[in-house]
């Protein structure tokens, strides 16, 4: 019989404690196998609770943050009425969402219609499980981290296409097809940039990638390879923005053209799920950018021992989320300051500019490794 064990870092802690606790059990119940299985289950529950808390908890915070950032960019105040500076506005919105009627329009494919939000939500959850939040905080430390992230990200497109096609609405269909075309196109440059990161770090495991950026700020991949790292970071930023369907690449739901895009016909909680998936994707993409370019959970050491001692005292997970929120802030500022390109400009930009530049970047990275080792 195959007994699942805990191999990843949080597991060590659990594996240490479960045998100590099982010593209190009756003699005949104690066994090595039981301990391993219990440790695995305890570990799984901890992971699930933690990732759910991060994912679902971050969405209301991000929605509030987005409204505030948007408002201040446009010289408004944003939500101010509910709670201090409108802090509980999003909670009120969630409650409102819960009591909305859920129904599929006539002619909709009911099964597909309700299946779409499920599929859309799978991808960001799986990606969140692969991100190392700290030295000992990673849910699933698989060796094929980066290819898995690319594969799972492709899943989201399916949900969007399903949602658009099943609602029997022409706006939805158009939005879904545009969104599908855009997402699969930008997925290529997304994969290429991650290839660049893999080439520099020499590993597809996200933990190893983070660990190979240990040291000072100069060791982060954005600065480690002169110029190329920064270009890679910018390209990653562009392609992940398009991957998430965020403005300025929100062709899929260009309000002025397609009303709501692929989720025009959705209402109530299924609609909220699309929204949730979008915001979790924002967190996971920022986390990925942090892991791949900004040194993950490493403190921004500057090489002066007196300062670095204080910086490294702060837990890695705090640095990680500080960087993630910085990235999210960047994504939000980009969203509210840039104008939306036309759909043909968008596709031209990917296939005729981003992809060739990515291939050149890969070549330049290879040349750097050959020359500088």
């Amino acid at each position: 019989m195959y007994v699942p064990s805990v191999t990843h870092p949080i597991g060590d802690f659990v594996r240490e404690w479960v045998p100590k606790l099982s010593a209190y059990l009756p003699e005949q119940l104690q066994s090595q196998t039981l301990d391993t299985i219990v440790a695995f289950l305890v570990n799984a529950v901890i992971c699930i609770v933690a990732v759910c808390a991060v994912n679902i908890g971050s969405a209301p915070i991000l929605i509030y943050m987005e409204r505030k950032v948007c408002a201040h960019v446009q010289c408004r105040l944003g939500p101010m009425r509910l709670g201090w500076h409108g802090t509980i506005q999003t909670i009120a919105d969630v409650i409102k969402m819960l009591f909305k009627e859920v129904y599929a329009p006539s002619g909709a494919d009911k099964l597909m219609f309700y299946l779409a939000p499920l599929i859309v939500l799978i991808a960001p959850f799986m990606v969140a499980a692969l991100i190392p939040f700290d030295k000992n905080l990673v849910v699933s430390d698989v060796s094929m981290g980066i290819p898995l992230i690319i594969a799972v990200n492709g899943f989201g497109v399916l949900g969007i296409l399903l949602g658009g096609w099943s609602s029997n609405n022409k706006y939805s269909l158009l939005g879904a097809l545009r969104s599908g075309a855009q997402m699969i196109s930008y997925e290529i440059s997304f994969a290429m940039i991650l290839l660049f990161v893999v080439m520099i770090s020499g590993s597809t495991n996200l933990m190893t990638i983070t660990q190979s950026q240990a040291g000072t700020i100069a060791d982060w991949f954005i600065f480690k390879i002169p110029v190329l790292g920064f270009i890679g970071f910018i390209l990653f930023f562009i392609s992940s923005t398009a991957e998430m369907n965020r403005a300025p690449f929100d062709i899929a739901e260009a309000e002025q053209e397609l009303t709501g895009g692929y989720h025009t016909e959705y209402n109530g909680t299924p609609f909220a799920m699309f929204y949730l998936a979008e915001y979790i994707a924002l967190v996971t993409n920022s986390a990925l950018a942090t892991t791949c370019f900004l040194g993950g959970f490493h403190a921004p050491c500057i090489g002066v021992a007196a300062v670095d001692n204080y910086l490294t005292m702060v837990p890695g997970v705090v640095w990680f989320f500080a960087k993630v929120f910085f990235m999210i802030w960047c994504y939000m500022m980009v969203r509210w300051t840039f104008v939306r390109p036309r759909v043909d400009q968008l596709m031209d930009f990917e296939w005729k500019f981003l992809l060739p530049v990515n291939l050149l970047l890969l070549g330049a990275g290879a040349a750097y490794i050959v020359i500088c080792g």
Binding site: C47, K100, S106, F125, A129, N169, I184, G268, V370
Partner: protein, 126 residues
């Protein structure tokens, strides 16, 4: 292996949360009678003509084909590039020169494919 088992739990977790939310919405949601106008597909107040499942432009399909080629290319490049530095340092039985030449040939074939598609006008969005 157990890493992947935990990961597969997350595969179902996302779906489970969305399903739970939909069920909660169905239970708590306010209900009104399903009139014809309410159930009609939204089209800015117009009467909808015909079904939305219409035949669609082939251009999208061609982009999907190109995507497939390049995504698989990226997948094939992963094992080589993950070990690129090691191969270049000469610690492996593989010769660095041969690997570089292979990579150049591999990418050149794909780039020529992209160039062909570009020239044929597939990348032009109408």
């Amino acid at each position: 292996m157990s890493e992947y088992i935990i990961l597969s739990i997350f595969l179902f977790l996302g779906a489970f949360i969305a399903a739970a939310a939909t069920v909660v919405g169905l239970l708590l949601g306010y209900r009104t009678r399903n009139t014809k106008n309410k159930m009609a597909p939204y089209e800015c107040g117009m009467q909808t003509i015909g079904n939305a499942r219409i035949q669609f432009k082939v251009g999208y399909y061609l982009f999907a084909l190109l995507f497939l080629v390049f995504d698989i290319e990226a997948l094939f490049l992963f094992p080589v590039l993950a070990n690129f530095r090691e191969i270049m340092s000469g610690n492996t039985p593989l010769s660095p020169v041969v690997v570089i030449v292979d990579l150049v040939i591999f990418i050149a074939i794909l780039v020529s494919g992209l160039a062909y598609a570009w020239k044929k006008g597939i990348l032009k969005w109408e």
